[in-house]
């Protein structure tokens, strides 16, 4: 009898794709601030890249303005979660009603996302008529415009000094919960008829239009949805770092998100996770190079910026040798995470039998 492949067994998926990552995250969070901060950065990067993939990978536009939406989200959420006394001293230009309210982070995230989506509509209506490179440059322009506004409206944003002392509300649990819900929404979205329409538009916009897909509304709506999640991610980023200012949300941040999305694979939501895994942890591993170290008695001088250089070279190599990114357009984890059968398999006897058969099959193949 031909047994299932091991990786097709629901129980195997549950163990390797669901339980194992959760255990790793929990273990890392338990090891102290340094590790839990890294895990949080990772989760936020996943959300950023996945939301960018909605636009760049699934709908065939090429936006590079994610940092702008992050900035909007971060500032709006900061307005809502800071205490009235902090706001009164730091941001005297805020309207009175905004100074007085203080709400928990979760509703603030929602408002932040909506604000970012609103900005996306405003900018999207003129800009999304451009194609290809023109759109990319216009979205870069959006970053410059947002940065200029943040740096120059002193009384509302505290100018280039930025806002300090944000409440540290973005705990790992909250970040991962938000990430999971967001990924679930995005995953269902691209598997819906709306998502298939998007992919059709990406592959051939004329053909898609002739089949009755309204390109303009598709483009603007997906741009908005993407900006919504970018705003949420920016808000979490702000509450994780507790300091925000215009300089954080500039080209570097946007390029980093684009880099994550390219390395992982633009047309895959789980690609965002793979890319974020690389882009969060590899620079950490390379950090010793930046400050100089001792190699077999040889003193290596500190090389400022070397990890960025290595990541840039890595990006060029990925683009040259694996253009579609590491994952291409395949999904790795999300199918297991978001399908009910993965979880119900725990209670089904047949699943255990299948797993046993698959393991046996694996061993038999090895022997022959």
């Amino acid at each position: 009898m031909e047994s299932k492949r091991l990786r097709d067994c629901s129980l195997f998926r549950l163990a390797v794709f669901v339980v194992l990552p959760v255990l790793i995250v929990v273990a890392m969070c338990g090891r102290g601030n340094y590790y839990s901060a890294m895990v949080c950065t990772f989760a936020i990067n996943v959300l950023l890249a996945a939301s960018l993939n909605l636009v760049n990978g699934f709908s065939g536009m090429f936006s590079m303005g994610h940092a702008a939406f992050m900035a909007v989200g971060a500032y709006i959420s900061a307005f809502l979660t800071l205490s009235p006394t902090q706001k009164a001293s730091m941001l005297p230009g805020l309207p009175q009603w905004l100074t007085n309210i203080q709400i928990p982070l979760l509703p603030a995230l929602l408002v932040a996302g909506i604000a970012a989506a609103f900005v996306a509509v405003l900018i999207g209506i003129p800009v999304l008529r451009f194609k290809g490179h023109y759109l990319s440059v216009a979205t870069l322009g959006l970053i410059v415009i947002v940065r200029a506004v943040l740096d120059n409206s002193d009384s509302v944003t505290n100018g280039p000094r930025g806002i300090t002392g944000l409440p540290n509300l973005a705990t790992p649990t909250l970040i991962f919960a938000v990430l999971m819900v967001s990924l679930f929404i995005m995953y269902r979205l691209i598997r819906s008829s709306y998502g298939r329409g998007l992919i059709a538009m990406r592959d051939d916009d004329v053909a898609a239009q002739s089949l009755g897909i309204n390109l303009t509304s598709k483009k603007i709506s997906i741009f908005c949805i993407s900006a919504f999640f970018a705003g949420v991610a920016g808000a979490m980023w702000g509450h994780n770092q507790t300091v925000i200012s215009g300089q954080f949300f500039y080209f570097n941040m946007s390029f980093k998100v684009v880099q994550i999305s390219i390395i992982g694979g633009m047309a895959s939501l789980s690609g965002a996770a793979v890319g974020a895994l690389f882009m969060t942890f590899v620079p950490e591993l390379l950090a010793p190079l930046e400050s100089g170290f001792n190699l077999f008695g040889m003193a290596i001088p500190s090389l400022y910026g070397i990890s960025n250089i290595i990541m840039a070279v890595f990006l060029i190599l990925v683009i040259i040798f694996r253009r579609q990114g590491l994952l291409g357009s395949s999904e790795l984890l999300l199918e297991s995470w978001f399908s009910g059968s993965t979880y119900t398999s725990l209670f089904k006897k047949s699943e255990y039998q299948e797993l046993a058969a698959a393991i046996r099959g694996k061993f038999n193949r090895k022997q022959t």
Binding site: K131, G132, S136, G141, Q259, Y304
Partner: protein, 298 residues
């Protein structure tokens, strides 16, 4: 506001616009052939400036020799980047080369920061360049005059090259249709290398003008002017030589007039203003001011 203030702002704008124009020409000829926004173009400008600084402060070479060496180094850098990062992607789509150029830009910026430290450095040209001349009542420094002359010379020389020489004809053919040009026996790689060489050399010259004006340089100085120059190329109509020059002048003048004439509360938005101009121009004329067919809009 007096007329002389307006005129001096206008002259400043034309001066800045000339620098943009020189960079934009480089963008435009590369984009015309490859459909590639070379984000690293601005950073090649930075390389050129740092080479000049090093040669002037450590060896003390005369300026004309410094400029020649720096142009040669920049040309070499541009061609090398094309060979390593863009040629393997010849068959790829637009986004792939865009990302590659972005990565090259990050790489160069960090490399420059690693070698020269991220600090700003003073960049002083000989006194001769800042001497003021009075021409028809307008104050112009030697540097300003040289910038204007340089733009004029570059435009005339490039017009000659593009219209009259064999390689120029090949360039026009390639920007019209790369595949058809290949079938006509043109080696596109040669043309592309030539385009990168010309663009990079011009970028180094523009860097000299920019650094001479600001008096300080840093490893990230090239990126935003590079981006604005690309805006200029798009505003003028990308792929067109005169369009790039016109776009550069329009953006430069608009930026300086905005900075000089608007109330101080909004002048800090001058970088943002450039992009607003870009978006507005593209909405009215999707192919830019002098652009012809094949626009950026669906």
């Amino acid at each position: 506001m007096s007329a002389s203030y307006f005129i001096s702002q206008l002259v400043n704008g034309l001066r800045l616009g000339s620098v943009y124009a020189i960079v934009a020409v480089g963008y435009s000829i590369v984009y015309g052939i490859l459909r590639l926004i070379n984000f690293a173009h601005g950073d090649i400008m930075t390389i050129g400036v740092y080479v000049m600084l090093m040669l002037m402060t450590t060896i003390g070479m005369p300026l004309w020799a410094v400029v020649i060496v720096s142009v040669v180094v920049s040309v070499f850098a541009g061609v090398l980047i094309e060979r390593l990062a863009y040629r393997p992607l010849r068959s790829a789509n637009e986004e792939a080369t865009l990302i590659s150029s972005l990565a090259v830009s990050t790489l160069l910026q960090n490399l420059l920061q690693m070698i020269f430290s991220p600090q700003k450095r003073a960049f002083h040209l000989p006194e001769f360049f800042s001497v003021r001349h009075d021409i028809f009542g307008i104050q112009l420094s030697t540097m300003n005059i040289m910038t204007f002359v340089a733009v004029a010379v570059i435009v005339i020389a490039l017009t000659f090259v593009v219209q009259k020489t064999k390689i120029g004809t090949a360039m026009r053919a390639c920007s019209e249709n790369l595949d058809a040009a290949r079938l006509m026996g043109i080696n596109p790689n040669k043309v592309i290398v030539f385009a990168f060489a010309v663009g990079s050399g011009l970028a180094a010259l523009a860097g000299l003008m920019l650094a001479g004006e600001y008096k300080t340089i840093d490893p990230l100085m090239g990126f935003v002017p590079g981006l604005k120059a690309f805006c200029a190329a798009v505003v003028g109509g990308i792929g067109s030589l005169y369009g790039a020059v016109l776009g550069g002048l329009v953006i430069g003048v608009a930026e300086m007039l905005f900075a000089g004439l608007m109330p101080t509360s909004v002048t800090a938005y001058r970088d943002a203003f450039v992009f607003v101009v870009l978006i507005l121009v593209l909405l009215v004329r999707p192919n830019g001011l002098l652009g012809q067919s094949e626009g950026g809009r669906s």
